[in-house]
Amino acid sequence: MSNTRVEGRTRAVDELYDESVHWHVNTGGETIHAKRLPGKWRSIKWLAAGLWLVFFLGPYLRWEGHQAVLFDIPNRQYHIFAVTVLPQDFWMLSLLLLFFAILLAVATALVGRVWCGFFCFQTVWTDVFTWIEEKLEGQPPQRRKLDKAPVDLRKAGIKATKHLLWLIIGFATGFSFVAWFVDAPSLWRTFFLGEANLVVYVTVGLFTVGTYVLAGWLREQTCFWLCPYARIQGVMLDRTTVVPTYDVTRGEPRGRVKKGEGAAQRTTGDCIDCAQCVAVCPTGIDIRNGQQEGCITCALCIDACDAVMEKVGRPKGLIRYASLDELEGRPTKRLLARPRVWVYSTILLAALSGIIYGLWSLDAIELKVLQERAPLYVTLSDGSIQNKYTLKVLNKTNDNLSVRVSIAGGPASLQLVGAEEPIRAAHGTVSPATVFVRIPRKDLESDRVPLTFHVEGVRSTGEVVTTKRPTVFMGPAR
């Protein structure tokens, strides 16, 4: 080891200690000014945050002349690319909710609060807000100094710029949110001409204020005190969950690096107590106290510690993604040997299959058959038995359709009355029609004859849309 390298290392360590007096654990009393350090996890965090660009840009995707994804609440139509989902198909929403709930559970069981640390809008927006803060106000010590400084023109200017930028982001958030629910291009026009719906303005306003307050002011306090998922996820962890962990056995007893002390004389562990892990923590906790409620598992302390370990020439990974089992030297189970993984995956798969089945079997038209119950059947003067059905045709296409009704099943002498003219089914609505089915009594083999109604319409494109619905023909007991 050359002298210059040792000197350089000593200086680096001194700087760390000079700085460390500023870092202590967040008890909620003051604003957390977390230090930003580059690193592997920092980069991954930006990539994960980048997924939220979909939220801002998604509404401008077009598909066959309409907005690709549009949740049209006033018209009760939900367009997702080629698929149009109506409230009648909303059972799929429950599966979607189940899917995401279990996804949260499975992800948390495997890799801890990965949602909180990398993907959650609270984390991402706060990250962006503090990034702006750093660009404008400087590193944490300067920020603290500025906070304490008396108001002058410079401070007012910086602060005003910051809050303005925050509000602009808040506004963009609200505006983008609304753009998923109304046609985006016309939103741009009507919003700024003052012609948009009051609900639109209120929503954008609430989102602007909400984003500004939550990401600008409340920050990690949201995760500590407001967010239920933070608490729920806490109990989803188990001994095998991989989370950012401080290796106690390697690190303790922590102790400052003594100048001129060689590796052989060292009585302390690998932790040099520089508090960099606390410095970078966006929620202001000390990971060395172990996994705790404040930890959103963002892994920024791993970056910080690895950088320090590199500087002092000790192996990296003092803080690393590890499970409690691994840390305590227990045998670690393979992923597929854990029952949790199987149970969660089965539920995930079931929900996913349900949704895929739902989307696959979405008919362009839907038929409901309501059988008259009073009376269930009547005898006609020619001796045949008549049943009355109300057909409800839901037309999910964008065309007005003429829907032809036919019937399958029953004896050859069956007569369908009232379906001579096609049902006129306006788009996006339910159109009712009453039809009668007559079967001569002598041909009735049972008091319950299964029948199937078929409906068929032709779209303006020439595409034939069809669906069917089974029902039963009731007759007198034999």
């Binding site: 009073a374 009376p375 009547v378 006609l380 003067s381």
Partner: protein, 294 residues
């Protein structure tokens, strides 16, 4: 009451009896008091804005002028407003014209469902299912005709069938023969010669028609002339439960015969005085669409 307080610092009111029995002052928590006074304020505001003080016959109206009845009337006015264009169109149309328009038919059916429930279903059953002694309206068998015009007549003016009691006019054996013959007809058989002979010989055909189908004459426009006599040649029975005993009873005691104790009772009241022309028209459409209108 003690002049000087022997229990200082415990927040008592100074009311002390029998040396040490004293009243403490434990005020309610501040948040509770704030809530209390806020609700008092709320109450005052409510009393001013809404009807409250029972003075005389009516309570004070409140400066908002709100009342349940007003709210009800306003909602009803809204409903009426939505219905108005339909009602106006229907007013100028005949039942047949309404039936030719699927949209208006749909409106009329929804609207008349309530009327049917209020005025008709007590006897004819919901959905026109019928009840013992009261005809099924969902089938295609009509004593007085199933065209819209005939239906309107039946609803407006009511109907009262009549059939002579034949006990005493016919022998028991003859009544039995006729009853058996009617059962045969209802089962789609041609009917005994004896029965037909009796039917014609005793003049039953005067009301029930040459073919025993209740029709006296068919007019060139397709409508038929009846006097409300039952169609004996179909499988539908006017009086429950149908079959030999029912037929024998009806032949013996007749329908609506004064002074005959066991006579069949079959009266439909007229609704002309109780329902508007518009409502009767709607009911005609409704009954026509129950399943057997002609």
């Amino acid at each position: 009451m003690a002049e000087h307080n022997p229990f200082p610092g415990e927040n008592n009111t100074g009311h002390i009896w029998d040396d040490n029995l004293r009243e403490l002052n434990n005020p309610a928590p501040r948040w509770w008091m704030i809530g209390f006074w806020a609700s008092v304020l709320w109450w005052v505001g409510y009393a001013v804005l809404y009807p409250m003080w029972p003075i005389g016959q009516e309570p004070t109206p409140g400066i908002l002028g709100w009342s349940q009845i007003l709210e009800y009337e306003r909602s009803l006015a809204q409903v009426t407003e939505v219905r108005a264009p339909f009602e106006e169109r229907i007013a100028g149309m005949t039942a047949d014209q309404i039936l030719a328009d699927p949209g208006l038919t749909q409106y009329t059916l929804s609207s008349a469902k309530v009327l049917f429930g209020d005025y008709c279903s007590a006897c004819h059953g919901s959905g026109g299912a019928g009840n013992p002694g009261f005809p099924v309206l969902a089938d295609d068998d009509w004593l007085f005709g199933g065209t819209t015009a005939k239906l309107a007549e039946s609803i407006a003016n009511g109907r009262k069938g009549a059939m002579t009691a034949h006990k005493g006019i016919l022998t028991d054996a003859e009544i039995d023969t006729l009853a058996h013959w009617v059962v045969e007809l209802s089962e789609g058989q041609p009917g005994s010669e004896q029965g037909w002979a009796l039917y014609r010989g005793k003049g039953c055909n005067a009301c029930h028609g040459e073919k025993a189908n209740g029709i006296l004459a068919q007019l060139p426009d397709g409508s038929v002339v009846t006097v409300g006599a039952a169609n004996l040649a179909d499988g539908i029975w006017r009086f429950e439960p149908g079959g030999f005993e029912s037929a024998r009873h009806t032949i013996a005691y007749g329908v609506n015969q004064p002074g005959v104790e066991q006579t069949r009772d079959a009266v439909m009241p007229g609704f002309a005085g109780r329902l508007s022309e518009q409502d009767i028209k709607k009911l005609v459409v409704y009954v026509h669409e129950l399943g057997g209108g002609k």
